[in-house]
Point group: C2
Chain length 380, copies 2
């Protein structure tokens, strides 16, 4: 596998195509190999944010690959992982041998209130957004419900954000390289009760790319790199509107997706050494840990409180800063997660390197748990 | 295969999810089988037009399939065919056995000028649209260039539109069931010289669905239906901006895509009995015929003039009305094309039934030839 990442930031000097091209070139350099048979672009908002659809053709053209098959895949904030899945299946079908997957998002050009309304397109337009809910408000209702059912306080979620910020300080691609304290967390500006600024991930411009091939080609083409295998790729959905769920504090699609991923890889939660989860909001980190079987339902925050999610803990999460501090350029996030796992599995994570990193799991969530995609990777 | 189509119209009483659900139920009824393992949605504009992304989860949820893997695929006006391709590859990979493909678009809610700007997202936002070009204007420049290079008059394109309108009169799913005359065509209101109203296809709301399975399952599951096989699925891209092409009057991606499709099916242009081409504008019909090898470059209109494209001609095209008269709900169009081919191959096209219909080809174009996807289908 070749991986490429652009730092998540406000890239006022780069257009969509620039970001994608830089990430792709970086992935090609990393792989030491430049054959591409098809391009899969994960992107959520380019139509709204930059008035540009047809990103497949845009990127194939810009990167000197006119003629190639190239499409865009969208599944809200899980667009990146969804594009990866499509690349995997076209590889497995035998139609292609080398797939370039690009996660891409450019959000800085969108004005504040437009950002809120564009992110709300991940929720149910007719039954949630039409009632006045923003995307953060939906997550706030989930968090409020969860805290009320299980008796957690807001401060019990602090370590999710503190850990992500700490890990981001040494990730050159992270958007927020600032350490935060418990006091910072508790006193942060309220966004939508109980979610405050430090419960929420920052948007941004970003692109990350993966150059993949089939197992048979690994020796021939990426021989200078440690072999990293994708052991599972599974996707599941839940009701789009959270109010339609019997248990709004449980991510059913995350559970289904994780169970299927474990089965594909012939593994269980105990075998996962670290977990790049989708901490768009701190509540999502807790719910994802529960759904994936790392802790009993209702006990997600306990792993944070006991510091088991830290780099030295039982299950390190968000080892390069997560969505919370690496940043969340929505359609690109799923590919950043995979690239970060590859760095850990290769032993290239620098200061952030985990000692025990043979099996990594990524979970990318679209909407408030409506689409959940899980990948498990292993170093051979 | 099971097929379902909603009439292309202004569906003010139906939301996105309603349209998709009706088409899917219709495809399930048609197949006489209701297993779905994954859903693939082809859609271009829902984020802009109805503020709804995450259509995979929306539709899985609405149709009673929460839990299923479901994603959206976008490639401008070729989104439908692009979604079909992704379904095909997941089937071929062995991951799933039954794929539901839905082409879906709801455009009536978008106001006039917003429609123009939303369709322009298929073109190059930075280098075409920023210069003031609309999507129809880009096609008008191509047509003007083509007429000037090869010496065709506007009236030479008339039969493309006349044929499509004639065929639509007896298609219950068509948007414009009105016959048009040469006089109507010549006197139609100018839109963007030389493209007049009767050179251009109407947008609309629509949904079409296909329930597919692997060849091994055909006997077991769709036994009450004539077996229809997808012999080829190929996709190619060209420069996004037309001004970057060496020959702006030649659809290079259409040629690449067709050549690859012929190769996959071990067929050539002579073996194609009828062709559902992408007549978004009459010029595109001419260029598609040339690119796919049905006529020499520069001679596209001659097939129309000689009436070879009519139902009784050598190569019937747009046999159910094409984009021009069945209507062009952009992301859904590619699936309508496939459903129409299936009807012809099964002998279910009613008044529109062709006598010689064993091999049908569909070509779906995203942008002004930037993404081109070709499928060849055969009755076994």
């Amino acid at each position: 596998m070749g991986i490429g990442q652009i730092p998540v930031a406000e890239h006022w000097d780069r257009s969509l195509r620039d970001l994608a091209g830089e990430a792709m070139i970086s992935a090609i350099r990393d792989a030491g190999y430049d054959r591409i048979d098809a391009i899969f672009v994960g992107n959520m908002l380019s139509g709204i944010a930059t008035k540009q659809e047809n990103l497949g053709a845009l990127i194939a053209d810009w990167t000197g690959n006119p003629g190639l098959s190239a499409i865009r895949v969208e599944a809200a904030c899980s667009s990146g992982a969804a594009a990866l899945r499509m690349g995997i299946y076209e590889l497995l079908s035998g139609e292609i041998e080398y797939a370039m997957i690009v996660g891409l998002e450019k959000m800085s050009e969108t004005k504040g209130s437009e950002t809120t309304s564009s992110l709300a397109t991940a929720a149910d337009a007719d039954y949630e957004v039409a009632s006045g809910l923003s995307f953060v408000a939906i997550n706030a209702l989930i968090m409020k419900h969860y805290m009320s059912v299980y008796g957690w306080k807001h401060s019990d979620f602090a370590n999710f954000s503190i850990n992500s910020h700490q890990n981001a300080t040494t990730n050159p691609n992270a958007r927020l390289k600032t350490r935060i304290s418990l006091e910072n967390y508790l006193n942060a500006r309220m966004i939508s009760t109980p979610i405050n600024l430090l419960d929420a991930s920052p948007i941004g411009d970003g692109a990350a790319a993966l150059l993949l091939t089939t197992r048979n080609n690994l020796q021939k083409s990426f021989s200078n790199r440690k072999k990293i295998l994708i052991k599972s790729s599974s996707s599941a959905t839940d009701t789009l509107a959270v109010h339609d769920r019997i248990k709004p504090g449980w991510l059913d699609a995350a559970a289904r997706s994780a169970v299927a991923a474990y089965k594909q890889a012939d593994l269980s939660a105990e075998n996962i050494d670290f977990f790049e989860l989708h901490d768009a909001f701190s509540i999502m980190a807790a719910l994802s840990l529960e759904a994936c079987g790392f802790v009993e339902p209702g006990l997600g925050p306990s792993l944070a409180i006991q510091e088991e999610i830290l780099p030295g803990g039982k299950l390190p999460i968000c080892t390069m800063g997560g969505l919370k501090a690496r940043g969340h350029p929505v359609g690109a996030t799923g590919i950043y997660q995979i690239a970060e796992i590859v760095m850990q599995l290769r032993g290239q994570a620098g200061v952030n390197q985990l000692q025990n990193a043979r099996t990594g799991m990524a979970q990318n969530i679209g909407g408030s748990g409506a689409t959940v995609i899980t990948h498990i990777l292993q170093a051979e």
